[in-house]
């Protein structure tokens, strides 16, 4: 599903713990450390061109939210909400690995994200 060609400008060097699933050349040990995340936009929140990501288990929800916010170029005043299991907001300090254990299915964790309206 994910495709390098779709997002040529993104700089992944800043986030080694989050990578395209397609570019993963992982050995067995890497696969255990990362989980597959599928990001789905809610409402009129911009859709990320790349939806499937490999994320280190230890990465926090807050860190992932920041990554998505940067990716979508959100204003500082805009808040990103992340939901798991459709209707539950995990704590910002929650590790994605724990979420995967609880809510993962078919080898991936589905996370919905939503941007709050900017003020004005």
């Amino acid at each position: 599903m994910s495709d390098n060609a779709e997002s040529p400008t993104e700089n992944q060097k800043d986030d080694p713990s989050i990578q395209h699933t397609a570019t993963e050349h992982t050995g067995a040990s890497d696969e255990k450390k990362k989980i597959d995340v599928l990001l789905k936009a809610v409402g009129d929140t911009p859709i990320m061109k790349t939806k499937k990501w490999s994320v280190e288990r230890g990465r926090t929800v807050q860190s992932l939210a920041q990554f998505i916010s940067r990716f979508l170029k959100l204003e500082p005043s805009e808040q990103l909400f992340i939901y798991v299991n459709q209707s539950f907001a995990p704590s910002p300090d929650q590790e994605v690995g724990a979420l995967f254990e609880c809510f993962g299915s078919d080898g991936k964790l589905v996370l919905h994200y939503c941007k709050s309206q900017a003020w004005g």
Binding site: P76, Q86, S87, C114, W119
Partner: protein, 223 residues
């Protein structure tokens, strides 16, 4: 869909559904000993759910009360374990690093907004109530910047509607903003949610209240 009418555009909750959601929420809290309880106001049929937690914080949060300019910021670590083991730190340093605050959270139903509202108060263990600035420094960094940029006061001091004592309140006007996506999403997937669980999972972490993941899977929506 929850009991009671709700069209897709509305994120409101009627009082009966509020109570039912709370009941289901409390059942799970008891199961996992999460500490929530129902408080009934004597002589009325009004009530709310509440929980008290002890939160360890960095001394810098209470810097106004604990004057110790000698304490270097770099030596104050999040690793409480290390400080306990450091015998040479002395009692004074341990007391400053080990500040523990008592937070009491109340979830009330707001008739005017027709949604739940989170009230809380915070104090030191010796009973000193925290000031608003101190409470702000405990707001999770994930939210702090944005909440402080809001055109109105998100975190305000209010009189508790049922107890009449000063509490902090997370202003309910933003509720729709984060409830709507979750409710619409659930509706689209033909899934019923417990409003309190969804709502608390978002507002709780803002003010230091953790909502374990099991609430998401174990608490059902009211019929």
């Amino acid at each position: 869909m929850m009991a009671g009418e709700r069209n897709p555009a509305s994120c409101h909750l009627d009082e009966r559904t509020f109570r039912l959601c709370c009941q289901l929420f409390l059942q799970h809290s008891e199961t996992i000993q999460d500490g929530w309880s129902w408080e009934q106001i004597k002589g009325t049929d009004e009530g709310f759910i509440k929980k008290t937690v002890l939160i360890p914080v960095k001394a810098s949060v209470l810097h106004k009360q604990h004057e110790c300019s000698m304490q270097d910021e770099n030596t104050v670590t999040d690793d409480i374990q290390a400080n306990v083991e450091d015998e040479t730190a002395g009692v004074q340093a341990v007391c400053e690093i080990h500040a523990v605050l008592r937070y009491e959270y109340h979830i009330l139903y707001s008739c005017s907004y027709q949604i739940p509202v989170l009230y809380f108060r915070a104090s030191t263990l010796d009973g000193r109530p925290l000031a608003l600035e101190e409470v702000w420094s405990n707001v999770h960094p994930n939210y702090r910047q944005r909440l402080q940029q809001g055109p109105w006061d998100t975190l305000t001091q209010q009189e508790h509607p049922l107890l009449g004592q000063p509490f902090f309140m997370l202003h309910p006007c933003r509720t729709e903003e984060f409830m709507k996506p979750a409710l619409d999403l659930a509706q689209a997937e033909n899934k019923r949610v417990n409003y309190i669980v969804t709502w608390l999972s978002v507002v709780g972490p803002v003010v230091g209240l953790d909502v374990p993941l099991s609430y998401s899977t174990e608490v059902s929506a009211p019929d």
